[in-house]
Symmetry: C2
């Protein structure tokens, strides 16, 4: 190739976009057909082979492309939201060193920002959740990696915002995986059930707060040393 990285070929882009459109329309990835794909993209069926070896190949490229586009903005929005909730009020920690009011405000805004973000990219989340437990191991691995990346960002932010004081970083990491995955899975219902969005968001907030509170309380009795 002339430059180290040429722009993605037109056909490749069209095929990936077509796939995303079809998958978002209640089609399982495994049930996707190569001709169907080409038809949707307005291309000759054989064009597929110019860019991909197998359908899994396309799926992987699609997920990686989307993941790369979404990761940074998602984090940015969350940080903005958390900042806006973290006002000038003085902190008022309870006997566990946890400021519940602040935790509630930050959680509320962060969760809200997540679901807003979901609504801005409905196809990506729809397809992502559908295939997260789907039958293609390749896609599942890629999606797990993606959520893991999101969760890593979340863990860093929780630390930056000092949201889980006195909770060791392994627990924070594990908690972030749980929370991010749960939010991710909830996004499907959030998109599809327009009239339940408020309830879903509230429920998500409650779950996060319970997990955080539980983690803080349980960290109290085994703070540093190892229990055998």
């Amino acid at each position: 190739m002339s430059q180290l990285r040429r722009a993605t070929a037109r056909g490749k882009r069209l095929l990936m976009e077509a796939a995303l459109r079809l998958l978002a329309r209640n089609r399982s990835f495994q049930a996707l057909g190569l001709r169907e794909l080409a038809r949707e993209a307005g291309l000759n069926p054989n064009t597929f082979y110019r860019h991909f070896k197998t359908l899994d190949d396309l799926g992987l490229a699609l997920i990686e492309s989307i993941a790369e586009q979404l990761r940074k903005p998602l984090r940015e929005r969350r940080r903005e939201a958390a900042m806006s909730a973290d006002d000038e009020r003085p902190r008022s920690p309870n006997e566990l060193g946890f400021d519940l009011g602040r935790g509630e405000r930050v959680t509320h805004e962060s969760v809200k920002s997540f679901f807003d973000f979901v609504l801005a990219h409905p196809e990506a989340f729809l397809v992502g959740v559908r295939e997260f437990y789907g039958p293609s191991p390749v896609l599942r691995r890629a999606l797990r990696e993606t959520i893991h990346g999101f969760a890593t960002d979340l863990a860093d932010d929780i630390r930056d915002f000092d949201l889980l004081p006195n909770v060791d970083s392994d627990t924070v990491a594990q908690l972030s995986e749980t929370v991010m995955q749960q939010l991710f899975l909830l996004s499907l219902d959030y998109i599809e059930s327009k009239d339940q969005r408020e309830a879903i968001q509230r429920q998500a907030e409650r779950e996060v707060l319970m997990l955080f509170t539980g983690a803080i309380v349980l960290s109290r009795q085994a703070p540093e040393y190892v229990v055998d």
Copy 2:
């Protein structure tokens, strides 16, 4: 028909069993073919139409049949496990009225019993999780109903065992849904990742305990009256 309910016809049973087998072998329901199904069942393709109108029809029958077979035994095993953990020791509630040691023991045994049950019915859980977020609305609704039933049993047991004292029943119900769904989803990894089973089970226990602890602590400040 002579009796009000005749035994399920041989072909119908064979087709449902074939479907379960194929779905458990990394095939998405949407990608199932009618001829493929008949081949696996050792039947003529047209036999399908004798028993089902559409593939969704078969899927629904399959899920309902499995759900009916599993619900009671699952609860039975959990109750036995919880009983065995609930030994003669006197209870030692902390300042929140929560006996953490007892909670840990009962949770441990209950979660263990769940995953043991999963391993006894791997195909059912494999397929259930895969299709839980799958593209067929009919199957998804049926699976949700099933998990909801399991969660209802769990909520009743939590009350019977007095595991969440001072937590109102709506919260217990909601918590049970969350926990049961989470366990359900984890069952896929539990089945597939033989070498991570211990870790998955431990993590599940921790999550349940965090949620329970969090729920108890958060219930402290809004026990009876409504906060506006």
